[in-house]
C-alpha cells in the first residue's frame, strides 16, 4: 500500500478503532480497519455460573448496554430448554425496543450528525426561515423562530468564547458539507433536544430493568420487575415515555433524516459505501411464546449481491470465523471455524515500523466471521432490506414513503445513506409498535402475573442465543459442564461489519464499503468517517472475543 492516511482514534463511536486508507484521485483505493484493544472475556468466563454470564457479558458494551445480557440469557435458556412466561417475553421486548429507539436517536444526532452538518453554518442561518423550513418539512419538535434564535445565539457565544470544547478542530468548512444553514440550525436544535429525549429510553429500561446503563432485571427464566408490573403507575410511566419517544421520532428524527437525505441524495443514487451488498439478519423480537424462532417481528433472512427478489433462509450452521488477518492463532488458518468449535489464542504480531498495519499479515483484534464463506453486512439496513424483500407491509410502507420523498429507487438504499435511513425507518417501526406491546402486557397481567419459569440447571448442556442488537446480528453460544461454563462464545455485530480480510482475501463489510468512497482532502477524511459511522461501530463489542 502506498502512503496511507491513518485515522486513529476514530471518535464518536464506542471503543477503539483505527482505519487506514490509501487515497488516489480523491477516492479511496485501499482500506483497512483494525480493532486496537483486547480484553479477553472468554478466558474469564470459564468456570463461572451460567446464570452470571448475562450480567458479565453485558459489560462487553455499555452503549447497547442491554443486548448482550438479553442474548446471554437466551443462550442459557436455550441450553436448559425453557422459555420465559408471556410477561417475561413482553417485558424483554419492551426493554429492547426502548434500547433501540434511544440508541438510534443518539447515533443520528450525537454520533453521526456532525458528519453531515457543519455546525458553524448555524451562524449564517435565519431563524425565521428555519421556522418556515421546519413547518414545511414536518420537523416541528420544539420548533419556532424564538427557539432557533436562542440556539443560534448559543452557538455564537460558544464560538466567541474560543473554548469550543468537543467541537474544536472539527472539519468545519469542508466542501463535502452540503446542508444549507437553516436546515443545519434545525438539526442542531434537535441535537440539543435529542440529548434530553434519549433519557426517556433509559428511564423505560430502568423502570423495567433497575438501571441503565447496564440493566439488572433479567434472570434465566424470566424477569424480576414483577412488583413494578403490578403497579399501574409504573406501567403508566413506561407508556408515557414511549409516547414521548414516538413524538420525537415522528416530528424530528424522521423529517430531519429526510431533509438531509434530499441534500445527499447522490450518495444513495451512486451507491456510495455500498460494499459487498450481502445482508444478514438473524431476526428478533419474539411474537409468540414457543421455543422456536419462527414468529419474529424482525424477520430473519439473507440477501446476496443486492438481489432483493430473493430472501435466502438463514442457517446458523453456516457461520464460521477466520483469523488469517487477526491477532489469533488457529492450527489451520486457511479456513474458518464454527463458533461452537471456536478457538481463541492471542497472537499479537505488531505493526510496521511506521506504526501502520501490516496489511498482508495480521492487523486487527477483530476476527473475520463469514456466512457460507461470504462476508456479510449486519445492522438496520440488513434488517430493513430483509423485511422489505420479505414483503412486510409496515416496512414496505415506510421504505416506500422515504423513497418517494427522496424521489429515488429502492437500489438507493444500498450504501452509506441507506444505512443511516434504515436506522431511522426501523426506529419509527418500533416506536409505532411499542405502545401496542404495552397494551398486550396489561391485557395479560389482568389474568396472569407469572414472570418466571422454574428450572433446574442441567449438569451438561449446550445452547445459543441469536438476537438482533441495534447494530446488527448478535449471537452467544454457551456450553455447560458440571453446572459451570465450559465454553462461551459470541459473534457480535461489529465483528461482522469491522472484520479484517479472511483467508480467501475477501475484505470485511466496512473495508469493502470504503473502496471507491470519495475523500477530497486526505487531511480531513470527512467522507470516510461518514461511511465508517454509518455502521455505528461498537468496537468493545467486536473484540470481546469470548472463546474457550
Amino acid at each position: 500500500m502506498a502512503k496511507r492516511t491513518v485515522i486513529d482514534p476514530i471518535t464518536r463511536i464506542e471503543g477503539h478503532l483505527r482505519v487506514e486508507v490509501e487515497v488516489e484521485g480523491g477516492k479511496v483505493k485501499e482500506a483497512l480497519s483494525s480493532g486496537t484493544l483486547f480484553r479477553g472475556f472468554e478466558i474469564i468466563l470459564k468456570g463461572r455460573d451460567p446464570r452470571d454470564a448475562g450480567l458479565f457479558t453485558q459489560r462487553i458494551c455499555g452503549v447497547c448496554t442491554h443486548v448482550h445480557y438479553d442474548a446471554s440469557i437466551h443462550a442459557v435458556e436455550n441450553a436448559i430448554k425453557i422459555v420465559p412466561p408471556k410477561n417475561g417475553r413482553l417485558v424483554r421486548n419492551l426493554i429492547k425496543a426502548a434500547q433501540y429507539i434511544q440508541d438510534h436517536i443518539i447515533h443520528f444526532y450525537i454520533l453521526h450528525g456532525l458528519d453531515w452538518v457543519d455546525i458553524t453554518k448555524v451562524l449564517q442561518a435565519d431563524p425565521k426561515k428555519a421556522e418556515e423550513l421546519a413547518y414545511s418539512a414536518g420537523s416541528t419538535y420544539n420548533a419556532g423562530r424564538a427557539r432557533f434564535a436562542e440556539v443560534k445565539k448559543k452557538v455564537e457565544n460558544l464560538v466567541k468564547s474560543g473554548q469550543l470544547g468537543p467541537f474544536a478542530n472539527g472539519y468545519w468548512g469542508h466542501s463535502a458539507y452540503k446542508v444549507p444553514p437553516e436546515a443545519v440550525l434545525l438539526i442542531v436544535s434537535h441535537y440539543l433536544d435529542a440529548l434530553e429525549v434519549q433519557r426517556y429510553g433509559g428511564q423505560i429500561m430502568a423502570i423495567l430493568g433497575g438501571k441503565e446503563p447496564h440493566t439488572q432485571g433479567l434472570v434465566v427464566g424470566g424477569v424480576t420487575c414483577v412488583k413494578d408490573l403490578l403497579d399501574p403507575k409504573r406501567i403508566g410511566d413506561v407508556l408515557f415515555r414511549f409516547r414521548k419517544l414516538k413524538e420525537f421520532v415522528d416530528t424530528a428524527y424522521l423529517p430531519d433524516l429526510l431533509l438531509a437525505g434530499q441534500v445527499y441524495k447522490d450518495y444513495g443514487v451512486q451507491n456510495v459505501g455500498a460494499g459487498h451488498k450481502n445482508y444478514l439478519s438473524y431476526g428478533d423480537f419474539r411474537l409468540s411464546d414457543d421455543a422456536d424462532r419462527s414468529n419474529l417481528f424482525f424477520p430473519s433472512g439473507v440477501i446476496l449481491n443486492g438481489d432483493l427478489s430473493k430472501v435466502h433462509k438463514f442457517d446458523p450452521e453456516k457461520i464460521t470465523e477466520h483469523v488469517k488477518h487477526s491477532w489469533y492463532k488457529y492450527a489451520d488458518e486457511s479456513k474458518g471455524l464454527h463458533p461452537k468449535d471456536g478457538v481463541t489464542e492471542p497472537n499479537y504480531t505488531g505493526l510496521n515500523a511506521d506504526n501502520t498495519c501490516k496489511e498482508n499479515e495480521k492487523y486487527s483484534w477483530v476476527k473475520a466471521p463469514r456466512y457460507d464463506n461470504k462476508p456479510m453486512e449486519v445492522g438496520p439496513l440488513s434488517r430493513v432490506l430483509v423485511a422489505y424483500a420479505s414483503g412486510n407491509k409496515e416496512v414496505k410502507a415506510l421504505v416506500d414513503y422515504a423513497l418517494k420523498t427522496l424521489n429515488a429507487p429502492a437500489s438507493a438504499l444500498f450504501g452509506t445513506l441507506g444505512r443511516t435511513a434504515a436506522r431511522c425507518i426501523e426506529t419509527k417501526w418500533l416506536a409505532d409498535t411499542a405502545e401496542k406491546w404495552v397494551g398486550e402486557l396489561v391485557e395479560n397481567l389482568k389474568s396472569n402475573d407469572e414472570t418466571f419459569t422454574k428450572y433446574s440447571m442441567p449438569k451438561e448442556a449446550m445452547g445459543y442465543g441469536l438476537i438482533e442488537a441495534p447494530r446488527g446480528a448478535l449471537g452467544h453460544w454457551v456450553s455447560i459442564e458440571n453446572y459451570k461454563i465450559k465454553n462461551y462464545q459470541c459473534i457480535v455485530p461489529s465483528t461482522w461489519n469491522f472484520s479484517p480480510k479472511d483467508a480467501l482475501g475477501q475484505r470485511g463489510a466496512c473495508e469493502q464499503s470504503l473502496i471507491g468512497n470519495p475523500c477530497v482532502n486526505k487531511d480531513q477524511p470527512l467522507e470516510v468517517l461518514r461511511t465508517v459511522h454509518s455502521f455505528d461501530p461498537c468496537l468493545a463489542c467486536a473484540i470481546h472475543i469470548v472463546r474457550r
Partner: protein, 394 residues
C-alpha cells in the same frame, strides 16, 4: 484547645471564597453559563434549589449553597480531558443519562469537555490536536477523567491508540502528568473491571495501580453521575478532593446499600424472596436470599436513584451485585446466591486478602442475622420446608 465550630466554619468559608476567586482568575473565559441555564429552561430558582441539594449531598452546611452555585458557574470553564482505556463506554453513557437533577447534566455537558472521544467532532490527527492544544494551553489546570482499566501485559500492547499507536499506559502517563486532578470513574478505572477478573489475561489494572498515582475513585458499573458532579464541585470549592475512605468520596460511598435499602424492613422481619417471581417478589420482600450483596456494598443507589431517580436494581426486584466493591465479579459470585455460597475456584490467589477477610466477616454476620430474622418469621407462619431449605444453605 479546639476551635469553636463557628470559627472552623468561618475558616472553611473564607478558604472556599478565596479558592473561588483564584479559580475565576485562572479560567477567565466566560461561557455564558447563566444563559445556558435560561436556554435549557432552568430558572434561577431551580438552579439555587439544585445548589441546596448538592450542598447536602456533599454533606456541607446550608451556608454553602451560594458558593456551590458559584462553583457550578466556574465549573463550566474548567477544561476536562476524558480518556478511554479498556472499557465499554457505559460510564460515558451514564453521563449522558444524567438528569438528577436536571442541571447536573448541563454542568457536565458544558464543563469544557475539550477531549472526549465519544462526543468530540474531530477524529484521528485532528482529535490528537485537540488533546495537545488543551494540554499545552492549560498545563497543570485541566481535570483528567479516566474511564477504563489499563492492560499491562505484553508491554501494554493489548491497547494501542492514536496515529503513533502509543499504548494505553503511555497515553495515561502523559496526560495525567500535568493534570490539576485525576478522577478515575467506574469499576474498571477504580478497580480493574471485568477484564481484570480472574485470571485477568491482559493484566488489566486500575488507574492508580497502573500509574502509581493516588486519584480519587468513583466506582460502580457504571457510577452514578451525581457522585462525579459532587466530586468535581468539591474540588472546585476547596481545591482538593472530598474526604475519602479507601479512595472513595465519603459523601457518596459512606453508607452501605443495606443501610439505605427500601426493602430493609423486610430483612428485619425475615421476609425474603425465595425464588424469582414468587409471592415474596410480588410483595417486594428482601432480596438477600436470591443473592443481594447490599450488606457488603458501599454506594448511594438507594439515595440517588438511577435514571432521573426513577429506579434502582433493588426497586426492580434484582439484588445488588456489589458493583462498587473491589473485584466483585470474583468475590461476590455467584451473583444469585447469598455470599456464603461462593464457589468460584482459584479466586483466592488473586483476591485482596484484607478486603476479602472483611467481606467474609460481614457475610457471616449477615448470615446469622438473616437466619435469626427468618426464624422469627417462621413463628409467624412461614412454612417449615422453607426454613429447612434455608438452614441447609446456611
Amino acid at each position: 484547645m479546639y476551635k469553636k465550630i463557628s470559627d472552623q466554619l468561618r475558616d472553611l468559608l473564607s478558604k472556599c471564597d478565596s479558592r473561588l476567586d483564584e479559580l475565576e482568575e485562572t479560567y477567565p473565559e466566560k461561557r455564558g453559563f447563566r444563559e445556558w441555564l435560561e436556554f435549557s429552561g432552568i430558572s434561577r430558582r431551580s438552579f439555587l434549589k439544585w445548589s441546596a441539594i448538592m450542598s447536602s449531598t456533599l454533606m456541607l452546611p446550608p451556608v454553602f449553597e451560594k458558593r456551590v452555585a458559584r462553583a457550578a458557574e466556574i465549573a463550566s470553564r474548567i477544561p476536562v480531558i476524558w480518556l478511554h482505556f479498556a472499557e465499554c463506554t457505559g460510564c460515558t453513557e451514564s453521563l449522558l443519562r444524567s438528569n438528577n437533577p436536571g442541571v447536573a447534566e448541563i454542568i457536565l455537558q458544558y464543563l469544557s469537555l475539550d477531549y472526549h472521544d465519544t462526543v468530540m467532532a474531530p477524529s484521528g490527527e485532528a482529535a490528537e490536536k485537540s488533546l495537545k492544544d488543551t494540554m499545552a494551553k492549560y498545563k497543570g489546570k485541566y481535570i483528567c477523567i479516566c474511564e477504563g482499566s489499563i492492560p499491562t501485559k505484553m508491554d501494554g500492547k493489548y491497547l494501542r491508540v492514536g496515529t503513533n499507536a502509543v499504548t494505553g499506559l503511555e497515553k495515561a502517563k502523559e496526560v495525567t502528568k500535568d493534570a490539576a486532578a485525576v478522577i478515575s470513574i467506574g469499576h474498571c478505572a477504580s478497580y480493574g473491571g471485568p477484564q481484570a477478573s480472574y485470571p485477568n489475561p491482559t493484566g488489566s489494572k486500575s488507574i492508580n495501580e497502573a500509574l502509581g498515582i493516588n486519584s480519587v475513585i468513583i466506582p460502580g458499573c457504571p457510577y452514578n453521575s451525581a457522585s462525579l458532579v459532587g466530586t468535581i464541585l468539591y474540588f472546585i470549592l476547596f481545591g482538593k478532593i472530598p474526604t475519602t475512605k479507601s479512595g472513595r468520596p465519603v459523601f457518596a460511598y459512606g453508607k452501605r446499600i443495606h443501610d439505605t435499602c427500601p426493602r430493609r424492613a423486610h430483612f428485619d422481619a425475615g421476609e425474603f424472596v425465595r425464588e424469582w417471581g414468587d409471592e415474596g417478589a410480588k410483595k417486594g420482600f428482601c432480596l438477600y436470599m436470591v443473592g443481594c450483596k447490599g450488606p457488603m456494598t458501599y454506594n448511594n443507589c438507594n439515595i440517588q436513584g438511577w435514571n432521573d431517580d426513577i429506579a434502582s436494581p433493588i426497586k426492580a426486584g434484582h439484588g445488588c451485585i456489589g458493583c462498587s466493591e473491589p473485584a466483585f465479579w470474583d468475590k461476590m459470585a455467584p451473583l444469585e446466591k447469598p455470599i456464603q455460597a461462593r464457589i468460584l475456584p482459584g479466586v483466592e490467589s488473586t483476591a485482596d486478602h484484607v478486603g476479602w477477610a472483611l467481606i467474609g466477616i460481614s457475610a457471616v454476620g449477615m448470615g446469622v442475622h438473616a437466619f435469626y430474622s427468618h426464624f422469627k418469621a417462621k413463628n409467624k407462619g412461614v412454612t417449615k420446608e422453607c426454613c429447612e431449605e434455608h438452614q441447609k444453605e446456611e
